[in-house]
Amino acid sequence: MMSQDATGPAIQETSEELQRTVTRMFGRSLHIRTLDTGSCASCEQEIRLLAAPHYDLHRLGFFFTPAPRHADLLMVTGPMVQVFETAARKTYDAIPDPKIVVATGACALGGVYQPDPFTRGGIGSSFPVDVWIPGCPPSPLALLQGLLVAVGRLADKVKDLDFALNGTPT
C-alpha cells in the first residue's frame, strides 16, 4: 500500500495499474529476455548470477528465455548505443503484448553516458520503460527486488525514501 506524497496521483495511478496488470497477466510465471545495448558486461554477469544457487530466481517463478516470442519481460542493460537501436527495436517488437521493460543499471538509467553521437545516454528515449533498477551494476538482490516490483509483489517503496538524513549521519 502506497502513501501519498508530492508525486501526483496520476503517476501513482500508472504504477498501481501496472502492478495490477502484471499480477493478473503473468501470475507466478514470467519469462525474461535480456538485451545488451552496450553495457560493460558486469550487468550481464549479475543477471547470469540470478540463476545461480545463491539467488535462484526460478523459485520465484521467473525464467530466462532466449526467444523474445516467449518472453514477457525485457531486461535492458547499457546506454543504448545508437547503431544498435534497430536491433533493440526489433527485439522489443518481437515480444508479444503485454510486456514489461526493465531498465537495468546506471547506464540504462542515464547515469554513465550522456546523449551524444554514439549513445542515446539511457534507454528511456527508446522504450516505454516500466521499471527502473539503479545500481552500477545492480546487485542480484537489487535485480530480484526490481523483478518483484515489476510483478507488483513488493510495494513501490522507493517513493517514500527521501535520501535526506535528519539528525546524525549514520
Binding site: C40, L49, D116
Partner: protein, 521 residues
C-alpha cells in the same frame, strides 16, 4: 615504483637494437621511446620483429591538430629484455608503409587507424570495418579525419556459386550475454569460416575521453570493460602517472595488486561456470557459480564493490582494504572453486568436450599477437607480471602458468593454475601491508608541460595497455586503451575454424572468456 630489475640495462643485444635508432644504452627505464622516420619504418619494424622475445603489442595514432600530421606509435613488448619499446613516426601524407605485411597481427589496428584517421598502409589492400557501422558516413564522430573512401566491409564470404552459405547468429544472442554478431559460414556440414561484427557495442570511449582530466576519465575506463575494471584502470592510471611523474605509494600499489588478483580469481571462476554451462554440466555450473558468488562477495567485503570499481585511482588506490575479511574469507571462497575444479577434472564427459576442442597453435598465437591465458595455453609464456613487473610483482617471483596443447582444456588448466597462484600472491602481498594512499601530484595542474606515458597491467584476460597524452593543463589530448580482449578476439575465429561442430563454439567462447565491451570500446 615502476622500476625494473637492475643489471639488465646494458644488455648487449638490446644495445644493438637501440643503436639502430641512434641511441646508446637503454638506462633503467622500463619504457624506451625511439623515433623511427617513416622512410625506414619498414626496415625498423623488420629489425625489431627479428629481435628475440619482441612482440608488437599495439599500434595507434595520435593527432596533434585535426588536419595536421599525425604520429604513428608502435608499442613493442621486449619481453626478454623486460622493456617496452615505443617507436614514434611522424606521418605527413595519407599513407605509411604497411605493417601487417611484416607483422600480420597488426592488420586490425591498420583497419582501425584507417577508420579513425583516414590514413592507410601503402599496399593498396582492402581494409575491414572494425568499430563503425556499415553506414558510417564522413561526418561520423572520429578521433581524426574521415577516410577519403569508406573502408570495405568484411565481405559476404558466400559467393553465389560457392557451396557454402552464411548462418547468421546475433547480435541479440542467448540470455544474459553481450551483443555480438557471428557470421558462421558453413558448407552445410563443416564450419568453413566464422567472422564477428562488434560495432553494435562501440561506445567511442577513446573519443569521449579527450579533454577530460585523468581522474574523470578513470570513471569511464573502469566502465569500459566491467569484468576487467582493475586491470584496465591500473594500466590507464599507470599511464597517467607516467605522464604526470607520479609515484604511487607502495601500500597503494599492493592494494592494486591484491585487487587485480581478486579480479583474476573471480573471472576464472566465472569462466569455469561458463564452461560448465556450455557443456551442459548443470551441477558443475552451480558449484562454480557458488564459488564465483562467494568471490564477488569477498570483493565487496574487502574493497566495497563486487566488481572492484573505484579501487584504483590516479596516483594510488582509493578504496580502503579490509585485510581481516580478506584473510578470513579468501581460503573458503577459493576452496569452493578448488573443489569444483578437481571434481570437473575427474569428470570424463566434461573433459571429452574440452580436449582437442578449439585448438590454437603457438605459431598462430605468436602471429596474431595474442596475450593472457589464451596465449599461455599454446605455450607462449608471456605474462607482464613476470616480464614487465611493476611493484610489488617484482618482489614476489611468479610461476607463469603454461600449457602447450592450445585447446580448451589447456586454457582451463592454465586458468586453474593461475587462480592458485593468485591466492598465493594475495597472501604474500597482503603481508606487505596494503592500503589506500595517494601520491600528491608534484606541480600538477596548469603550467606543467604537455607529456605522455605508457601503462600496463596483466588483467585476467592478459596484458592490458594504455597510453595517455596530456596537454599543459593536464587534460587528455589522446588516450589509447588496449584491453586484452582487443588482441584475443582475433584468435577466436582461428580456434573455431579448427573445429567443424557448431556446438563447440560456445565452449570455445567460454574458454576464451573475453568481453565484447573490451574490444568494442
Amino acid at each position: 615504483m615502476t622500476a625494473t630489475q637492475p643489471g639488465l640495462a646494458d644488455e648487449p643485444r638490446l644495445r644493438d637494437l637501440l643503436s639502430v635508432f641512434g641511441q646508446d644504452g637503454a638506462g633503467d627505464e622500463p619504457v624506451i621511446t625511439v623515433s623511427a622516420p617513416v622512410a625506414d619504418l619498414s626496415a625498423a619494424v623488420r629489425r625489431i620483429a627479428a629481435h628475440p622475445g619482441a612482440r608488437l603489442a599495439d599500434v595507434f595514432v595520435a593527432t596533434h591538430e585535426t588536419d595536421g600530421p599525425v604520429t604513428l606509435r608502435l608499442i613493442w613488448g621486449l619481453d626478454a629484455d623486460r622493456r617496452y619499446l615505443v617507436s614514434e613516426s611522424l606521418i605527413e601524407g595519407e599513407t605509411y608503409p604497411s605493417l601487417s605485411d611484416i607483422v600480420p597481427g597488426a592488420f586490425t589496428e591498420e583497419c582501425e587507424i584507417y577508420e579513425q584517421f583516414g590514413i592507410r598502409p601503402a599496399n593498396g589492400r582492402p581494409l575491414n570495418r572494425v568499430a563503425l557501422p556499415p553506414w558510417a558516413g564522413p561526418d561520423w564522430p572520429r578521433l581524426g579525419r574521415a577516410p577519403t573512401e569508406p573502408p570495405k566491409d568484411v565481405h559476404a564470404p558466400h559467393h553465389v556459386g560457392g557451396h557454402a552459405f552464411e548462418f547468421p547468429f546475433g547480435p541479440v544472442r542467448q540470455v544474459a550475454v553481450e551483443s555480438l554478431y557471428y557470421g558462421l559460414v558453413t558448407s552445410g556440414e563443416e564450419l568453413v569460416d566464422l567472422y564477428l561484427f562488434t560495432w553494435h557495442k562501440h561506445r567511442g570511449v577513446e573519443w569521449r575521453l579527450r579533454g577530460m582530466t585523468p581522474g574523470d576519465a578513470l570513471f569511464y575506463v573502469e566502465r569500459t570493460e566491467g569484468l576487467g575494471a582493475v586491470g584496465n584502470s591500473w594500466a590507464f592510471a599507470a599511464a597517467a602517472e607516467a605522464a604526470l611523474g607520479l609515484e604511487p605509494p607502495p601500500q597503494a600499489m599492493a592494494a592494486r595488486a591484491i585487487a587485480l588478483e581478486l579480479e583474476r580469481l573471480y573471472n576464472h571462476a566465472a569462466a569455469t561456470a561458463a564452461l560448465c554451462q556450455s557443456t551442459g554440466l548443470v551441477i558443475g555450473q552451480a558449484a562454480a557459480e557458488i564459488a564465483l558468488e562467494r568471490l564477488l562477495r569477498l570483493n565487496a567485503a574487502v574493497f566495497g564493490h563486487r566488481y572492484l570499481f573505484g579501487v584504483v585511482d590516479i596516483g594510488g588506490a582509493r578504496a580502503d582494504l579490509d585485510a581481516a575479511a580478506l584473510r578470513g574469507d579468501l581460503p573458503a571462497a577459493y576452496g569452493e572453486l578448488e573443489r569444483a575444479a578437481e571434481a570437473l577434472l575427474s569428470t570424463n564427459s566434461f573433459l571429452d568436450r574440452l580436449e582437442a576442442t578449439g585448438i590454437l597453435a603457438e605459431e598462430a598465437a605468436r602471429r596474431l599477437g595474442l596475450v593472457g591465458p589464451v596465449a599461455r595455453a599454446t605455450g607462449l609464456a608471456a605474462d607482464t607480471r613476470a616480464d614487465h613487473p611493476a611493484w610489488p610483482y617484482g618482489e614476489f617471483p611468479l610461476a607463469v602458468a603454461v600449457a602447450d596443447a592450445g585447446d580448451v582444456l589447456a586454457r582451463f588448466r592454465v586458468m586453474l593454475t593461475e587462480a592458485a597462484e593468485s591466492v598465493r600472491l594475495i597472501g604474500e602481498i597482503g603481508r606487505t601491508g596494503a592500503g589506500p594512499g595517494l601520491a600528491l601530484p608534484p606541480g600538477a595542474g596548469p603550467g606543467q608541460a604537455a607529456s605522455s606515458g605508457l601503462g600496463w597491467a596483466e588483467s585476467s584476460r592478459g596484458e592490458s595497455l594504455a597510453w595517455v597524452a596530456l596537454d599543459d593543463t593536464g587534460r587528455i589530448t589522446r588516450a589509447r586503451l588496449r584491453p586484452a580482449a582487443v588482441r584475443n578476439w582475433r584468435g577466436f575465429d582461428d580456434a573455431c575454424r579448427s573445429q567443424n561442430v557448431f556446438t563447440d563454439i560456445p565452449i570455445i567462447e567460454a574458454s576464451f572468456w573475453l568481453t565484447v565491451a573490451g574490444t568494442a570500446r
